[in-house]
Symmetry: C2
Subunit: 179 residues, 2 copies
């Protein structure tokens, strides 16, 4: 038995499918920054109470001098080596599929996949993402870290909505067409 908790990938990519440049810069996102426009982020964040993130992505946030947000949620940092938890931040070294299955057995809000590409692809390989909210930024980066790597199974989607914003960002929202 699973609950109706969904795993949702909420992420921005360039039209050519990159989530960052080769040297991990997210600078291109600044072109769509607009006062008072959060592209649905806060509403989305209010709909989740668990976060799955790769260790490298997590450490990137820390290295940039930020505290990792979502301190009010259960955060699972996927890591090859287990480390003691810090509050509700768990360093999870076990199988990612098992984590998702366990979380889905528990009742709660939705589960946010906060990247990076490695974790997202691992989830997609195991068909564990229920919804995709992808913000397409109006730029061709030309090179970088791809959101979608080769070697995943085919998955038919159902388009839930398309939203177009002033700065040229388009947000595509899909769910899996089949379980």
């Amino acid at each position: 038995m699973t609950t109706d908790r969904k795993v949702i990938l909420y992420i921005a990519m360039s039209l050519d499918g990159y989530i960052a440049t080769k040297d991990n810069s997210l600078e291109f996102l600044s072109m769509v920054e607009q006062e008072g426009e959060d592209y649905g982020y806060n509403d989305f964040i209010a709909s989740v109470d668990a976060v799955i993130i790769g260790r490298k992505t997590y450490e990137k946030v820390i290295a940039m001098g930020y505290e990792y947000p979502h301190t009010d949620k259960d955060v699972y940092i996927l890591s090859r080596t287990a480390k003691p938890a810090i509050g509700n931040f768990t360093f999870y070294a076990d199988d990612l599929s098992r984590l998702v299955h366990d979380l889905k057995k528990q009742s709660g809000k939705h589960i946010y996949c906060d990247g990076g590409a490695e974790i997202a692809n691992e989830l997609m390989k195991n068909n564990l993402i229920d919804e995709f909210i992808i913000s397409v930024v109006p730029i061709l980066l030309g090179d970088g870290i791809k959101l979608f790597n080769d070697g995943r199974p085919e998955l038919t989607l159902e388009l839930l909505s398309t939203k177009q914003f002033d700065k040229g960002l388009t947000q595509l929202h899909y769910k899996r067409a089949h379980k």
Copy 2:
């Protein structure tokens, strides 16, 4: 001096950025087929009078038992080896950039880049595509022939329109933000 003829890439890709499967199948496009809905294709075709296509893509159409359409247009089939023209179908073995520059000096309607990925990427490497009309099909193919290869220059775009269709296809129309 160039005219205002534009090179337009009009193409469909899966959400994960593939234009065909590894074995060149376009079968996934059938999921968005709908009686009476051509996704703007005929209007688009009426706006062009020249077509650039790679030899392999051209021969794929022929091998599938079709005649190549656009017999009323100037068709340039990019080929490593020159061959005699067939009517208004030219087998072009010279530099692709030169072809585009030459066409843009002539007055006429727009210029359609009909693929494949190799020609599209060669044009993008030389910053020769003026507009992108990309139909995003609601599927993750998981593997295949990517529309966008690594190693292109960065290019800022301006979103002209987003169109959402019943079958879940989203059509994104961009132009280059800078010349």
